[in-house]
Symmetry: C2
Subunit: 348 residues, 2 copies
Amino acid sequence: MKMDSRKQQILMAIIHDYIATAEPVGSRTIARKYSLGISPATIRNEMADLEETGYIEQPHTSAGRIPSERGYRYYVDYLMQREELTNDEQELVRQRYEAKVKGVGEIIQYTGQLLAQLTNCAAVVLSTQTGNTAFRHIQLVQMTTEKALLIVVMDNSTVHHRMIEISESITQGDLDTISTVLNAKLQGRTMESIKMTLLKEIYFELAKHDQILNMALELVSDSLAPDIKDKIYLGGVFNILNQPEFHNVEKVKTLLSLLEQEKLVSNIMSDGCRVSGVTVRIGGEISHDQMRECSMVMATYTVDGRPQGSVGVLGPTRMDYARMVTVVDYMTKNLSLALERFLRGCGK
Amino acid sequence: MKMDSRKQQILMAIIHDYIATAEPVGSRTIARKYSLGISPATIRNEMADLEETGYIEQPHTSAGRIPSERGYRYYVDYLMQREELTNDEQELVRQRYEAKVKGVGEIIQYTGQLLAQLTNCAAVVLSTQTGNTAFRHIQLVQMTTEKALLIVVMDNSTVHHRMIEISESITQGDLDTISTVLNAKLQGRTMESIKMTLLKEIYFELAKHDQILNMALELVSDSLAPDIKDKIYLGGVFNILNQPEFHNVEKVKTLLSLLEQEKLVSNIMSDGCRVSGVTVRIGGEISHDQMRECSMVMATYTVDGRPQGSVGVLGPTRMDYARMVTVVDYMTKNLSLALERFLRGCGK
DNA sequence: TATTAGCACTCAATTAAAGAGAGTGCTAAC
DNA sequence: GTTAGCACTCTCTTTAATTGAGTGCTAATA
């Protein structure tokens, strides 16, 4: 079956109307609201064809049609046209990003909030921690006789810290020595590039302080590695409560409990996200049963061309894809810019 | 009206049954389930009295009775008896707190999760940042020619960091100097104790590095202060979806949007929380319209006797107060202990 | 041949009515 | 003071009837 222009128009009408009203769309409605210059009867014939091809479906015999996942897919791939954000909206975004921030986390958080606000969907921002960020600074601060705080600053200005146990005989002076050695050896190197060789090197360097040796090694291998994992920011999750498809509390529950499993969300996003451009995953395309009735629109943000993570929105399959794609694209670019500006610190 | 023992027993029966079933309780039910040795008719008479006094109320003429807020209050104040946690539950808590953690944040997060899990309510943990924690270590790390990362470690092992702008001519060496001076002057002092005198002192000390002077001052007054604000951890918020009173999506929405306003939650908790013991706020006692139908049970946790914040659970007015109080109390104590152990690092 | 009007048919959603059930308050007996 | 009995109230459930939106098919029309 070939999709002539009229079929396309009807499919679009159905999708637009369904997105707007959340009600199945009948032939009469289309004839009335969308002036295609044809009668309901003709539309019915076309709709029968569209249904046969699987682009639309009928909840029950005497109801109108709703788009199928395949219909949405066709719409997203061939029919929909991007809109622009209004000036007000652009202004809103601009102002938010202009605020002084104290760290990358804040910028990401703002992004999530804006996304949620602009789309009325749940927003997810995934900050991927690739092993390819270099160490900038390492510092050990003694807290008690048996504990010290290990602070690691990465090149992307993220700060990680964790408490580690030390033997009682270690003084802040010793810790400073270790810090110095670690700094000298690790500065500018990435997590990935730290191989056994390097650890050995440190091993010998610290051999003089033999008793603190074990600790230092454990520190690098144990403490740093697991610390660096993907981070997830959620925004406006309860926005989905505004969608009629989530007036059923059960559905909300399954979705929310799913969103709480960070690992899962992380997988879905990093799996499904192409490096460039906006990716749309419709219903079952997200291979996860509990998300059957959801779609995601997402994109990867970068700093100087290197992917840093992804941003996305999560909503019912019946979402305004055109707008979502526009917003996600816009926010991705803005986030990338904001991050670059923040990390670089170039005047403007 | 005096509450004789039988009236009390009936009130308790009503409350217990209503908590368990969420249905209005009739005289017949009480006679059947709770063997008080009196007939439904007698119970009806007593209930009429209880209603007149305002301890219970009737949704409509031919329904059973439900406890009023006043009834709950009486129950909480005079009738309810604490239960113990089961061994399994205690074990669960113990294991969670035994896990190695890398910071205070994690301990607090665990607490929230456990609370939510044990109570099936939304859990809130508020970490108050009093100005009375002392500085432990301050470090400036240059990131770009125009930006440096200010890292502050407090005595309670929390780490704050923020990016600050620096003039181009400043080197890491200068930053180290500033760090050293700041450390010498601020170490061991609390935010509160830093008065203008101290700032002046630093001013003179740094006079030699005159150009970086402004920055250093701005840093202490601007950067540090606003950084230190209360932090809120939410856990298992979607637990409230399990409660029949929240099967109405509208109610969920108002409550959730309220929980998103951190400031508000922070106020409610710090206002309502006595320093010692468990505080119960029933329905309208939380002076906040959107929380009319909720109750909170909360307590303050401490480190070495000094209040550090509060933990609480939020659920429908029809909650199992006895259990909530038990759990909140138990968790508060465990949190306090876990924090002390973590900060001190004493062997066991 | 493509379009359209007309019509019978289907099925969810709404409305109305009937009944069941839980619970009360009152009265009178114990 | 307690309790059995009974009439009464009001919600909730069930059932039936009605409405209405929408379709598919057929035959007429351009």
